[in-house]
């Protein structure tokens, strides 16, 4: 026990004293969220409005971020893509998180056969390199966001399950979990009310990193031609498509890239802040 803790200094932390990184991170994410929600107001053009006579135009007063290979306004597409990418962050993280947390919780708490079976499934999944499996599944189901999410859910849960199970194994033997058993509560109640809330911190912190990974995986799939279906604007796909014009029209991939980095930064900062807050 550290000297400080003996004085109860580190234990008592008011909610108001959130770490600065958390505040900054949430501000960035919030900013993108607002932009996404009010995209139709913020974007000067229809993101999918093709203008065949004005392709690859450099940034100008009309088109602040220039136009792309189909004459679409890059600024508008970048703004509208925030919707898709934020949606991707949620859909790419939440289902794997739910699956992983459930698996980790059940296998960690119940142990025995359930644990053995779930852990074998875990072994099978984890033995595939992440990207290969995503690629294979997208190959099976065809490109597109929906299938991408299915692939992520099938693959991404393993990390959450591992994190969760490790926490659960510790909490399971804690005296408050034992106390709950001796109070006559069933496994389900104990898992949901006593184990789950206390085991969630590392999972939440990792979720932030995972969200960045989801955007990156989406971009990589876009590069291999298996990302979001055209003409949907998505940063990763915009960067991937734009890279073949990088000599002629740097703006096509530069601005969505910048957008992705800022959102990634927001997520990373939030993760960092959460880690400190929940420690």
């Amino acid at each position: 026990m550290s000297v400080l803790a003996q004085h109860g200094l580190s234990a008592r932390r008011a909610v108001s004293s959130w770490p600065g990184t958390l505040v900054l991170g949430l501000l960035i994410i919030g900013g993108w969220l607002l932009l996404a929600i009010f995209a139709p107001l913020a974007a000067p053009f229809d993101p999918n409005a093709v203008d065949i006579l004005h392709i690859l135009e450099a940034p100008s007063l009309t088109h602040w971020f220039g136009t792309d290979q189909a004459g679409r306004d890059v600024l508008s597409r970048t703004i509208f893509a925030a919707r898709v990418d934020l949606f991707m962050c949620v859909m790419g993280v939440v289902p794997p998180l739910l699956i992983g947390v459930t698996v980790g919780l059940v296998s960690g708490y119940l142990g025995g056969v359930a644990d053995a079976v779930l852990m074998r499934i875990y072994d099978v999944t984890v033995a595939f390199p992440f990207f290969v499996l995503v690629l294979a599944i997208v190959g099976v189901l065809g490109p597109g966001l929906g299938n991408f999410f299915i692939a992520l859910a099938l693959v991404g849960w393993v990390t959450y399950a591992r994190l969760m199970r490790a926490e659960v194994l510790v909490i399971k033997t804690s005296e408050y979990a034992l106390a709950a058993r001796s109070l006559g509560f069933g496994p389900l109640t104990i898992m949901l009310r006593h184990v789950l809330p206390n085991a969630l911190s590392p999972v939440l912190v990792y979720a932030m990193t995972d969200a960045v990974l989801v955007i990156l995986a989406g971009a990589s799939l876009g590069f291999l031609g298996m990302g979001a279906q055209p003409p949907l604007a998505e940063w990763g796909v915009m960067i991937a498509d734009g890279q073949s014009y990088v000599v002629r029209a740097w703006w096509i991939c530069f601005f969505p890239g910048l957008a992705a980095v800022t959102l990634g930064m927001g997520l990373a900062l939030t993760g960092d802040g959460l880690a400190r807050l929940l420690r």
């Binding site: 690629l135 099976v140 991937a240 959102l263």
Partner: protein, 312 residues
């Protein structure tokens, strides 16, 4: 002896996993639309030709039969034959393995020193400007798409400056080093931030550990305390992360291999998936599973060398 015991147990545990992987992969592939015969014979082939080719490869038999045949061969240690190239899958994997292993080791040897350097600089300077700079670099390096970094580095150091080749693997050790430098650098730019973050956190945590206070109370100089006590203890979680990453890289350098035209396993995997070369995909997934287990095992052995508490 203990190592051997662990190895045997790991391999035994691996069996059901491999079986599972083989079945899952097989079913995934069977569900995939697309026909290897079509890609083999090309655009102009007629339906009759396609049927003949399917017949030739047994692709028209019911899938349980195909699966049975596959397992039968597998039991004899035969990974089968590539539909595309009519070559043994094991031979193909061996052909593509050296560049991948070289690349992975290259990445590790670029990443590990850099990680140590940056994480130590950040942790010893906790909260200072160096620490902040390293963290900002980390976030940026981590959020940039790999293919973007790869293309930019290739343009800058390959085409513009001409310092490094932009493709291939070369012949001979020195050429490998030269050719794979940019691919390895690209991967490291992504990997280093992940590792630094982990090591930095561990260093900060361990520098508050009780045994560190105890070491200080003996009057050991701060540097000695760091190198002898803080660092070794902080290395363990990062070592595990490295293991996970290396296992991932063995099949996960797809993008880098594509951009730098490295004849590695990732590239073989992608092209096999795209052309529905079932047996190669099967063989590769099994190989990746095996590699993952082996890497984990190596990490566990390394862990026991560092940490006497851990027994194999």
């Amino acid at each position: 002896m203990q190592t051997l015991s662990l190895l045997v147990n790991r391999l035994l545990q691996l069996l059901p996993v491999l079986l599972g992987i083989a079945i899952v992969t097989f079913l995934l592939l069977k569900l995939t639309p697309g026909d290897p015969a079509r890609l083999l014979v090309g655009d102009r082939a007629s339906e009759e030709t396609l049927a003949a080719v399917r017949q030739e490869y047994g692709l028209n038999r019911p899938w349980p039969v195909q699966l049975g045949t596959y397992f039968g061969k597998l039991a004899q240690g035969d990974l089968g034959e590539s539909i595309r190239f009519r070559k043994p899958v094991s031979g193909l994997i061996l052909q593509f393995l050296p560049p991948t292993i070289f690349l992975v080791l290259y990445v590790v040897s670029l990443t590990v020193p850099t990680t140590l350097l940056l994480a130590i600089a950040a942790a010893r300077n906790h909260g200072g400007w160096a620490d902040q700079a390293i963290r900002v670099f980390g976030v940026c390096g981590f959020t940039l798409p790999v293919f973007w970094v790869a293309i930019m580095l290739s343009r800058l150091f390959g085409v513009e400056l001409g310092w490094f080749p932009v493709s291939g693997y070369g012949t001979g050790f020195l050429e490998h080093l030269h050719h794979l430098f940019l691919p390895a650098l690209t991967t490291s730019i992504w990997l280093v931030p992940v590792m630094v973050q982990s090591l930095r956190a561990a260093l900060l945590e361990k520098s508050e550990a009780d045994f560190v206070t105890a070491a200080r109370s003996k009057g050991l100089p701060e540097r000695g305390v760091f190198w002898r006590h803080i660092l070794p203890n902080a290395l363990l979680p990062t070592l595990h992360l490295l293991g996970v990453m290396v296992a991932y890289l063995i099949g996960g350098t797809i993008i880098v291999e594509a951009v730098y035209a490295v004849p590695g396993l990732g590239r073989l995997m992608v092209s096999s998936i795209l052309s529905r070369d079932y047996s190669v995909v099967q063989g590769l997934t099994l190989f990746f599973a095996l590699a993952t287990v082996l890497v984990t095992l190596l990490v566990d052995i390394a862990t026991t060398l560092i940490d006497p508490r851990v027994r194999l």
